[in-house]
């Protein structure tokens, strides 16, 4: 997942670099020895006294432009739903064939309220944030769980 984000960033950098990288001889010579993808961005301001208005970057196809600082890739609705269904399939009291996004835990899958508490705890573990008791009791289908998480995490549809 990290490599996908990196590839996306590298592609966006290559596009931005193509726009910025006009006629800057120093940068072209500087980007030649760069071979690894892990090089951070740096701004060459010391040697660019004449061109002060435009910040010059060590550009090239192998520069990591956007910095995540250890943050996760952004959540999408499909991603959330995938993870929710994956966690539910791992639960031993649910048979994976009968599981769908709209299957009710109590009516369709035959679970009881203690199982529902366990499922919501598993979701808390998966997504890393606490779900308060009052709202946790109302989540009865995977679709509702996905809706709730996307509301909490501000994932727009």
């Amino acid at each position: 997942m990290g490599s996908r984000a990196l590839a996306y960033c590298v592609r966006s950098v290559a596009r931005a670099a193509a726009r910025l990288n006009h006629g800057s001889v120093l940068t072209r010579s500087a980007c030649a020895p760069l071979a690894s993808e892990q090089r951070p961005l740096s701004v060459l301001s010391c040697s660019q006294r004449t061109r002060w208005t435009q910040p010059v970057r060590i550009s090239g196809p192998s520069v990591q432009q956007c910095r995540h600082y250890g943050d996760l890739p952004p959540l999408t609705l499909e991603n959330i739903e995938e993870r929710v269904m994956y966690v539910l399939k791992l639960y031993d009291k649910i048979s994976p064939e009968k599981l769908q996004t709209s299957s009710h835990f109590m009516k369709d899958l035959g679970l009881d309220s203690l199982d529902q508490v366990e499922i919501i705890m598993a979701m808390e573990d998966e997504f890393g944030f606490e779900i308060p008791d009052a709202e946790a009791e109302k989540l009865m289908t995977p679709a509702e769980i996905v809706q709730f998480i996307s509301d909490k995490k501000d994932v727009y549809e």
Partner: protein
């Protein structure tokens, strides 16, 4: 004592199990104790799932809360048995077996209700 209160209690125990660290701080012990807490909660709650008498439900929830507090205080999730010698509650007058058994059952602390005396 409503259904949602019992479920909140269950959720509280599972949250404690998630962030538990053992007294000895060894990862092996921490792991074992976490699993023990979750498993014990699961079995006991399921075993008492069908009780409808409000008095028994109240006793079970008191047991649960007492065990939570004792476990958190002593940093030990296992039940804390008390010692009562065989004729510990006998008076000069009543030394019959049935009376003794009745008295012993009455004297058992609330947090040991699900724990069998061996």
């Amino acid at each position: 004592m409503s259904r949602s209160d019992v479920l909140s209690l269950y959720r509280r125990v599972l949250r404690i199990a998630r962030s538990w660290t053992a007294q000895s701080a060894l990862p092996h012990d921490t792991d074992n104790e976490r699993k023990y807490i979750a498993q014990e909660a699961r079995t006991l709650f399921r075993q008492n799932q069908q009780i409808t008498d409000p008095e028994s439900i109240k006793r079970c929830t008191e047991e649960c809360e007492a065990r939570i507090e004792i476990g958190l205080h002593y940093r030990n999730p296992y039940p804390r048995p008390t010692y009562l010698p065989p004729m510990g509650l006998a008076t000069q007058k009543g030394r019959k077996l049935r009376a003794q058994q009745r008295l012993r059952k009455q004297a058992k602390p609330v947090y040991l209700l699900s724990h069998d005396e061996t």
